[in-house]
Amino acid sequence: MTQDTTFHHGDVSTDVRPIIEMTDIEKHFGNIIALAGVSFDVRPGECHCLLGDNGAGKSTFIKTMSGVHKPTHGTITIDGKPMNFSSPRDAMEAGIATVFQDLAMIPLMSVTRNFFMGREPTIGRGPTKRMDVQKMNETAVEEMRKMGINLRGPDQAVGTLSGGERQTVAIARAVYFGARVLILDEPTSALGVRQTSNVLATIDRVRKQGVGVVFISHNVRHALAVGDRFTVLNRGKTLGTARRGEITPEQLQDLMAGGQELAQLEGSLEGTV
């Protein structure tokens, strides 16, 4: 379904200033060193893939980018200015929206309430300032439809959605609010074929609008289909960054798996992995 050739790749020139630049990020949880000095940047209009084995530190890294974790060491700059996010809200206000691996959805709340959680549009002023419920419902339904899912109703509780539907709500929400940077942490892990290509097409669409996309995936084909640059993490460190065309799918796959084991496995499975 999604061949490498599906999308046009914006040739992002290296001299464009990054929207967000993370330098030498370290993150310690007690005595656990989750990140041991990772540098990463996102330029407008590119899709920068973050790859790596389970536990490599990808989620931890993007959580420092979206204000959930404070880095133990290292600097974050936005448009060249040093930033210090004290909460996810700060990062959102800087135009960074994230689909977390655990989705950050509240099962007991409706799709609409989840969609706008923390960023509710309002009408009226003073004491009559209230949520614009109609606009919220319409937007939620419409954005979900764009992602290929027809909601039964915007007031359906998220807990009653299927895993993929839930993931789609999270993606639609981030795309809607991701004004400058869109971070997707394994957004397609529960998605069907049609919804996956929809997500990849959406990445392509927002990239063309100048949004910088950070895309985490374990699927090399998905990464290669939309990625402009690929950074591989291994055990909390960067293994390196490659530009599109500089690396073959096989090389990338081996890097992601941390080396030889996969090659052996592939042999025993007769190349089906």
Binding site: S66, V68, S87, P88, R89, M92, T98, F100, D102, L103, A104, M105, I106, P107, L108, M109, R113, F116, M117, G118, R119, E120, T122, K129, R130, M131, V133, E138, V141, E142, R145, N150, L151, R152, G153, A157, G159, T160
Partner: protein
């Protein structure tokens, strides 16, 4: 925009959606259980109780304690929806009563100062409660349990100091009687209307022509007002959405940009201020304050909130539900005196109601979340 939306909504009415009857849609409202409870209890007393219970004066009779509890229950419900408990609100009523008494009697302050001061002290203690809970990550249950004792003890000690050795502080009525703010917090409202209604014979009167019910006790008006405001906030404002989110899943809410800390601390402050409001109203009503004020009210308030559909795990519930939960409480406490039943049935009834409510809510939650 509207045209592009139409097909989406049309498509939303898809073939995989069974027609949902109004019944099953109502089932999903958290307050349904409490409304059913009110109907049940009303029916019960209509059959068993003296007819006097449902006259105007009988209704005021059970609505007054219902309102006093209800103000607490609405605060407790908001806090429970936000995912926390406050077991110290009962003691807060006593403590705020002491502060209010000390302000008015000992310091001789006018209400315009005494009331904001009492509310501010309560809010401050609520903020302390909330800050400890959020900073330490301990369950609010245990932190506020400590404050249940601390505040009760502080009320006793403080009363002895303020009154010179007694556990009761008298003279509040004399101190505030003529204050221009007093009618907002004590006595009955709409007196002239009731007098007029009595005159034209629309309501019951005593022999001398004075109405049996001189007006609506102010706490009932506060109760209704707070229930409406709380419902509006929960259902229609961003802050309401934040409360549901903070209680539903703290991490998810915070990661989505909800200022969870602020929301929860504000809720602790609000609950404490509800306690202070009840203290102000009841102390002005009785003219004195004592250390037993608000005893066990924390549990009754939480029970009313649970009957009203609040989940103990947070993230779900309603203020209107707590409103009806408190009315059930008032009806049962007072209603039993209109029947041949022994008053002591009250607690059995209460426990039974709570159990049924929790079972019912559990079932509802599973329906709402699709049993995941």
């Amino acid at each position: 925009m509207a045209e592009t939306i139409q097909p989406a909504i049309q498509a939303a009415k898809d073939e995989r959606l069974k027609k949902e009857g109004i019944g099953s849609r109502l089932m999903k409202r958290p307050e349904l259980g409490a409304i059913a409870g009110v109907i049940l209890v009303t029916t019960f007393f209509l059959i068993t109780a003296d007819g006097a219970m449902f006259t105007l004066s009988g209704i005021m009779n059970f609505m007054t304690p219902a309102a006093q509890l209800g103000i607490l229950a609405i605060g407790a419900a908001m806090l429970m929806i936000g995912g926390e408990f406050d077991l110290s609100i009962g003691s807060m009523v006593a403590f705020a009563g002491l502060i209010f008494g000390a302000c008015t009697v000992t310091l001789g302050l006018p209400l315009i100062l005494a009331i904001p001061l009492t509310l501010a002290v309560a809010a401050g203690i609520g903020a302390v409660n909330g800050t400890i809970v959020l900073k330490t990550g301990l369950p609010s249950f245990i932190v506020t349990l400590a404050f249940l004792f601390v505040l009760r003890g502080a009320s006793l000690v403080g009363l002895k100091i303020a009154s010179g050795g007694s556990t009761q502080l008298r003279g509040v009525r004399d101190a505030v009687e003529d204050d221009w703010l007093a009618p907002l917090f004590s006595g009955d409202a709409f007196g002239p209307i009731f007098a007029w209604l009595a005159q034209i014979g629309a309501i019951e009167t005593f022999k001398n022509g004075a109405p049996k019910v001189p007006g609506i006790p102010v706490e009932i008006l506060w109760f209704i007002f707070l229930a409406l405001v709380a419902t509006y906030v929960l259902l229609r404002t961003p802050q309401g959405n934040w409360i549901f989110a903070a209680g539903g899943d703290r991490n998810a809410a915070s990661n989505s940009g909800v200022p969870v800390r602020k929301v929860k601390i504000a809720l602790f402050m609000l609950t404490a201020m509800c306690g202070a409001l009840v203290a102000i109203i009841t102390v002005m009503d009785s003219g004195s304050t004592d250390a037993r004020r608000g005893f066990m009210k924390e549990f009754e308030a939480i029970i009313a909130a649970v009957i009203g559909g609040c989940l103990l795990t947070g993230g779900y519930g309603s203020a209107i539900g707590a409103f009806f939960g408190a009315i059930i409480f008032g009806m049962v406490t007072i209603g039993l005196t209109y029947t041949d039943f022994d008053q002591d049935w009250f607690q059995i009834f209460l426990g039974g109601m709570l159990l049924i409510a929790v079972l019912f809510n559990n079932y509802i939650r599973k329906r709402v979340t699709g049993e995941r």
